[in-house]
Each structure stands twice: as C-alpha cells, then as structure tokens.
C-alpha cells in the first residue's frame, strides 16, 4: 500500500497537525519507507490467532471468576472523593479565568 499526498493530508487532519509543506513531503517519504518494512507482517498466516491488546491480564487475577469479575481487585465503590485541587490545575493553563479554560471562539456567527 503506497501512501499518497492526499493520504498525508487526511491523516494530518485526523491527528490535528498543521504540517508545513516540507514536513508533508518528509513524512510522505518516511511513511512509505516505514510501511514498506512493516508490510512483511503479511508474510504471516494469522488466521484464527486472537489479537492481543495487553500482556498482563493473566497475572494476579481471580481465575475462578469469569470475564471482568476476574479484575474485581481494580474496582472501588462509586463514591466521590477529592481529586486534584482546581487552583493547582489552573496554574498550568495557557489562558483561564481561574475557573474555566479559555479558548478561541468555537461558534462563528
């Protein structure tokens, strides 16, 4: 599968990246050479091989239970408890009124 300039534009839009023209042509070249290397995965027959998302879902679990009950040790009661203080979190905000994060207008009239 060869990546085109149109693909780069589409993917950059999905990733919310405003690439410069030099970046676009660099990335086009890099993606194609990386994907060429990645294509070798198609040499493997993976029919009936289950996909693996995570390595640790067999250890420390309650094997006598089924499904997500096996991970009951990660659950807690649904009670509200304090999180990080708002003043501390707002300190890093690029623009705020102390209570809300301020951003450019979302709706253009």
């Amino acid at each position: 599968m060869k990546v085109t300039e149109k693909d780069v534009q589409y993917v950059a839009d999905l990733a919310n990246l405003e690439l410069t023209p030099e970046e676009q042509s660099r990335i086009l070249k890099d993606l194609n050479s990386i994907l060429e290397h990645i294509d070798r995965l198609n040499q493997l027959n993976t029919k009936n091989v289950p996909p693996m998302a995570q390595t640790s879902d067999k250890f420390g679990i309650d094997a006598s239970k089924q499904g997500s009950d096996r991970f009951s040790y990660v659950m807690r009661e649904d009670e509200t408890r304090p999180s990080l203080p708002r003043e501390v979190l707002m300190e890093n905000a690029p623009d705020s009124d102390g209570a809300f994060f301020k951003v450019p207008k979302v709706i253009e009239r």
Binding site: N16, L44, T46, P50, F59, A93, P104
Partner: protein, 481 residues
C-alpha cells in the same frame, strides 16, 4: 569524595552508619554535575532546593538517632517522563516547557518515602520516542564513554547520569528498549520489570500497553534493591498487577548452577556486529562455567517484532498524545484565531519531527480501511511472539542475547534514516511486546572502548531468576562491587 565508588548499597550503609553526611553528599553531586554535565547533557532540571531539604531531613533524623528508612540519603535521578509535584516535567518536549507537575508519580513517592534524595530530572528522547536521545526537544545527550557518540535512548539522560557518576542510580522508562539499550551503550545495568510489576501512575504515557518503569544502576544488586521499593500493586494504576513483591535482594548471591539458559538463534544472525557477538558468546561461556546449562532455542517470529512494535506503539501514542492540544496545559500557539487552528498549530509547533512522524504512522494504522491490515494484524503477531516465549520457557529458565546489534553509534549517524534507527531496537522490543522482564549488564568493551551489553530475559514476574543470573555473571567476571 570518590563518587564513582558509590553504589545504592554502599551509600545507604554509609548513611545509616553515620559515616556519610547526606547533605555533604548531595552537594558533592551538584558540584560534579556543574562541572561535567555541560559536556554530557544528562539533566534537564535540577531540583536543588528540594533535594537539599530532603537531605537535611535525613541528616536531622540521623542526628536524632532515629531508625533511618532503607534508602536514606541515596541520590537518584528521575527521567523527565515521570512527575514530581511542584517540579517541571517536560517529557523531553518543548510542548511541555515550563509545565509544573501537580502530582508525584508513585515510583518517585515510593523512593522518597524510602529516604532517597532526588537530584533532578534527566534528559530523554521526546515522549520517550527514540533510541539515541537525539530527539530531545532541548539538546542531545552525549555518551560519557565517548562524547562524540549517543548514549542510547530514550532514557539516555538517566543512563549517562549513572555512567558519569552524576547520581548513584536513576529511574528510566522502557517501551521498546529504552532502559536496556542506553544501559548497554553506557556500560551500566538497566532492568526492565514485567509489565504490571511497577506502577505507571505519574509516567507521561507513550504507549500504554508497552510502557514500563525500571531502574538504571551501577550493579545488579542495586537494581534488585530499587526494584523492591518501586514494585507492587498501586490502586492508582489499574494495570499494576496484584502479584506479591519478591525479596529481590535476597535473590542476589544465590547460585545459578543448574539453571537452563536459552540461546535463540534468531538473535545471532545478520546485522549483529562481530565484537558484540564475541563478547556475548564469551559471557555465555562464563555462565556455563558457573554451572548453567546452555540450550539452543528458537524464537521463530523475532524478525516480525520491530514492525509489530512500530504499529502498536505508534497507534497507542497517537491516542495518548491527543491530549496535547493547547487547552489545559502545555504550549498554545499564539497565532491561532480559531479553535481548530489552536489545536493544529500548538501541536505542530510543540512536537518534534520524530513525534510527528510516529503520530502520523499511528493515526494511519488506526484509520478506517487500514485498522485490520495494520493494527489488528500487529496485535495478532503480538500473540505469536508471546507463544514463542511461552514455548521457550517450557524448555529454559531464562534467555540470553545481545542487548543491541552494535555498540553506541555516532551522534548524527542515524537521524536521517528512521528505519535504520528502528532496527537498532531489534533485540529489545520483543520483551516489551510480550511483557517479560529483562536486564542488560555490561559484558565487554569494543576495540574502540565502547561498552557492550548482555541481555537476560525471564518469564513473567520472574525478575528473581533474571537478577540471580545477572549477579552470578557480574561475580564470575569480577565486574560487580
């Protein structure tokens, strides 16, 4: 004071015996950092006031005659992808320049509760993406063994700091080899714990199913000591496993006689530098002399590990880095007039080239029409790689390989060839994909004076066997302390 002679073990003993003053020790390290770090670039942030306060508290407790906690006074460095409340954390990126973390990572909290003194945050490849520490948004790190060469990455700053005696030990993170590979390049010890062994709470995420935190130290025993304090279930990290923590220190000194070591043929083929191959084969012979049984094995899907990794890691990274949008924290573009421009320009301005490359690759792999061909396929190959290891561990107790195909390369050598850079990870990525623990220990020096690393991999949650064998090797070659 000879800082090069200090280990975690010797430092804590000397502090506990009141023969070493933690305040004087911290000051010595800061003096050495000021003198040597301009050439190396290991640190991004020094938290001197905070460190001296902590050292003074340890000293006060010692003066009062209180029992001291187990790592009291030990100076450590933390890779800048882990948070410390009130201290800048950049993940090596300009997009987080000036970001003051609002909370402390569990691993740092545990080390500090044990009495350690955090000297500062170390340099790394941006968002832990890289194998040379040339992708830092700030400046590259130089290998203390040869300043014209890379220290490895992405934990290059941590490895260089330990190798240059700018701290006694450090924490790094490993997603595709980022603890073990720089440890090998810098001639120090780097431990990758089992996935879920150590909490990731407070680790700025790169790829959540692959990220691991682990120690970088001068000796195997030091790695065992630090692992003991950072390991264990953390309710703030749902992926941290509910598996009891072994007394890793007690494993050190146990003989390796009778342990079966697998040597996988796929790790000794094309692309492996002859000097590395010779050093590793000599190391394996030393382990045989120590009583290990050497068993030839095969890990047949090895050649598919790098492409699998570069799909899964970049796909997860594209999701994890979506949060950097200029809204709540981090760089916000000053030229944006609309919300969309703000997102797009903040990200394009704040992220470096490698990060953008990986976000693009990951987004592409997950996009409609390509998800099955790339991401789902890679997840299936991950299962095949796991089966390779499960089969191997039916026949052997541990697996020995080179850590890297070559010693440290020159700065600038691989920056224009991403595939060549990615292939440097060939011996390390599989452990991250499968979730097994591994260690890199120094096993020789090349003709050009560059360190070579030996990698030992173990079964899930079997850090004990890995540490045991690594320590026996250190002991056989007199390279321990």
């Amino acid at each position: 004071m000879d800082l090069s002679a200090l280990t975690v073990e010797s430092t804590r003993t000397a502090v506990a015996e009141r023969v070493l003053n933690p305040v004087a020790l911290a000051e010595e390290f800061y003096k050495k950092i000021e003198a040597d770090d301009p050439q190396i670039g290991a640190y991004l942030t020094l938290c001197k006031d905070r460190a001296m306060k902590k050292a003074a508290a340890v000293q006060a407790a010692a003066d009062k005659g209180d029992a001291l906690p187990p790592l009291a006074g030990v100076p450590v460095a933390i890779k800048d992808v882990m948070t410390i409340a009130g201290v800048q954390a950049t993940a090596g990126s300009k997009i987080l320049k000036g970001w003051i973390a609002p909370y402390t990572a569990t691993v740092v909290q545990r080390l500090e509760d044990a009495g350690a003194v955090v000297l500062g945050k170390t340099n790394c490849d941006e968002f832990a993406m890289g194998s040379s520490n040339e992708n830092s948004g700030y400046f590259p790190v130089h290998n203390p063994r040869d300043l014209s060469r890379v220290p490895g990455g992405s934990s290059g700053g941590s490895a260089a700091a330990v190798a240059a005696n700018l701290c006694v030990a450090a924490l790094g993170s490993d997603t595709g080899g980022s603890i073990r590979q720089p440890a090998a390049f810098c001639g120090v010890v780097g431990l990758l714990p089992t996935y879920g062994r150590v909490s990731r709470y407070g680790l700025i995420a790169f790829a959540s199913s692959l990220d691991h935190i682990g120690p970088i130290t001068k000796t195997v025993k030091d790695a065992a000591i630090l692992l003991r304090y950072i390991a264990g279930r953390d309710k703030c990290d749902s992926t941290s496993a509910d598996v009891p923590v072994t007394d890793y220190e007690a494993e050190i000194g146990k003989p390796a006689k009778g342990l079966r070591l697998g040597v996988p043929k796929e790790y000794f083929g094309e692309g492996l530098d002859t000097e590395v191959s010779t050093a590793v084969e000599t190391a394996i012979q030393k382990l045989a002399q120590a009583g290990c049984e050497i068993v030839p094995i095969s890990l047949p899907h090895t050649e598919y590990a790098v492409p699998t990794y570069y799909i899964i890691a970049t796909a997860e990274a594209s999701a994890n880095l979506a949060r950097f949008d200029g809204v709540r924290y981090g760089h916000r573009s000053s030229s944006a007039h609309t919300l969309s421009e703000m997102y797009r320009r903040s990200r394009d301005e704040g992220f470096g080239a490698e990060v953008k490359r990986r976000i693009m690759l990951g987004t592409y792999a997950l996009s409609a029409g390509y998800y099955d061909a790339y991401y789902r396929k890679a997840q299936q190959v991950r299962t095949l790689l796991t089966r390779d290891f499960e089969n191997a561990f039916q026949q052997v107790d541990a697996i020995v390989t080179p850590t890297t195909p070559t010693p440290a390369f020159k700065l600038g050598e691989k920056v224009d060839d991403p595939v060549s850079m990615y292939l440097a990870d060939i011996y390390t990525v599989t452990a991250d994909l499968v979730g097994v623990p591994g260690i890199s220990v120094p096993c020789g020096i090349s003709k050009e004076g560059l360190p070579i690393g030996l990698q030992i991999l173990g079964g899930h949650f079997d850090e004990a066997t890995v540490l045991r064998i690594a320590h026996v090797y250190e002991h056989e070659t007199g390279t321990g302390r």
